[in-house]
Symmetry: C2
Amino acid sequence: MSAALVIAVDAMGGDSGPAVTIAGAAVTLLRRPDTFFQFFGNETAIRAALEKHPSLAARSKVIHTEVSIAMDAKPSQALRQGRRTSSMWLALQAVKDDEAHVAVSAGNTGALMAMSKFCLKTMPGIERPAIAAIWPTVTSECIVLDVGANVGATSRQLSDFALMGAAMARSLFGQDRPRVGLLNIGEEEIKGLDQVKAANSWLRDSGLAIDHRGFIEGDQIGHGAADVIVTEGFSGNIALKTAEGTARQIAAYLRAAMNSSLLSKIGAFLAQGGFTHLREKMDPRRLNGGVFLGLNGIVIKSHGGTDATGFASALDLGYDMARNGLIKQIADDLEKVAHVARARDD
Amino acid sequence: MSAALVIAVDAMGGDSGPAVTIAGAAVTLLRRPDTFFQFFGNETAIRAALEKHPSLAARSKVIHTEVSIAMDAKPSQALRQGRRTSSMWLALQAVKDDEAHVAVSAGNTGALMAMSKFCLKTMPGIERPAIAAIWPTVTSECIVLDVGANVGATSRQLSDFALMGAAMARSLFGQDRPRVGLLNIGEEEIKGLDQVKAANSWLRDSGLAIDHRGFIEGDQIGHGAADVIVTEGFSGNIALKTAEGTARQIAAYLRAAMNSSLLSKIGAFLAQGGFTHLREKMDPRRLNGGVFLGLNGIVIKSHGGTDATGFASALDLGYDMARNGLIKQIADDLEKVAHVARARDD
């Protein structure tokens, strides 16, 4: 068996702190038993939560700190107050110091990104990190990035996102040549933003191990038209949130429809096996976890309001990304395209 | 009873031409019997379609032309080939000449927008027209604009969109002070694009008869957080298409779930009343029709691939917008804010 995979956990992050982060780790340990956890945060609170999970306690270490980052802290404020001392920072520092393979936090996104850039630094050859989300499709899943690390992106940055997203698809889905598309408002080459068009030309001739699919419209994301969908952070975040909102809206319609008559209620009762299946498929906790790409280390952002099941998904994702050598995948691809790098500068 | 409301119909627009446009008009005439139609296009084809609808034939006029705009024509090409002669242009010309109250076309969007700008001209005080879509929410409907007339928008243009969307909400929903929000990637004032922030400040102090709600995230659109959601055309189009794609995706999940076991199938059969209700609620034909705002005349764009039911929705929408004085609403609001116009220039 291979050596333990070490996850550095910001135990204080998220709306519920150790109550959720420790319980989530216990779930992941059952599924990935060779994980070792480092929990950063208030030792008393963490130890109290660990009492219920003796086998997790046996495969974890607690590193005490009194400082934690508020969920509503501004990035600059978080950096000023929590650098070197906060549970969030210490988890990142463990990755930087090669003591952990990946850091996972349910803390606030802006603070986590600011600290990650400061602590781990951006990879050589990458201008800007991005946040990648895993998006359910009718056939399986795809990766969408950037979903909000930055607003706007040059063609160079968009092609970086494509390269990093493709490396993530190789790590996560085991695909040799992931299908990559650029989110745009029309399939015709004449439409859309100049930087999207320039990135499209570059990707077509990049020599990367990708199956370049050109432009993808919003309705094609969930249809599974590509494995990696690339866009800048403003539109990516809006697409992601809009899809989440639409899913909740239709769930509300469905509940109302099934309560609209006695016969519908009886039918829904009989079909509850099917509805359970549907609920599981649409459960946002199943694909919880945004991956920060482009840093010298893997960082996973969990939703702040999730529960143990959702946090475990983020931990699983971190485990898989680290185990499958995400950073090396990205570095290899960057090396491959280094000779054409100048051509894609804006 | 008031005088007839005249709709100029590009009878050749869309994937199916008169077969759909005439059948759609027959549906609208049943619901809005004081409509009079002008059909522009190939007279033989139109007359053939009208044969099935004698009461529609009695309330319509056919204006013959051989020229129609191809669904894949580029805007510049359409203008060159179809100016003054095409069925699309003639429908717009009828609005310009005050012979019709509104023009409706299922032809290609780019060509229709280019011709509309050329024929009807942009309203004084408006820099750029926008396309507004009606978006279903859990409670009712809202208006989202721009969904793709242009890529990018200055703060001045965004505030124009807000003004026009609010006027449309007054015409369509009869609201005195529609709730207006700006689509953004975070609710905090620090986040997002500069032009969105500038538009936010301007709208807060505009004196318009709106209930300004500040920033709205993507998941709040379908939740009904505002009556008018304002964004530039790239992100607006992506949000709209993503929502459509997500709805189709969940419908596919639901079908699979209901076919997953015999009991689910029986349940779904019993609940078919509820499912019919759901299907009607999610039917894209129900809210078919994008409104071109900011021109000296009302133009409605129907989906090209819709059927008679869908085209009738677009005609109904055109009728309602014209009957409720949309253009006057916008003009009045523009006059109201003329004294602060300079303050919102970028």
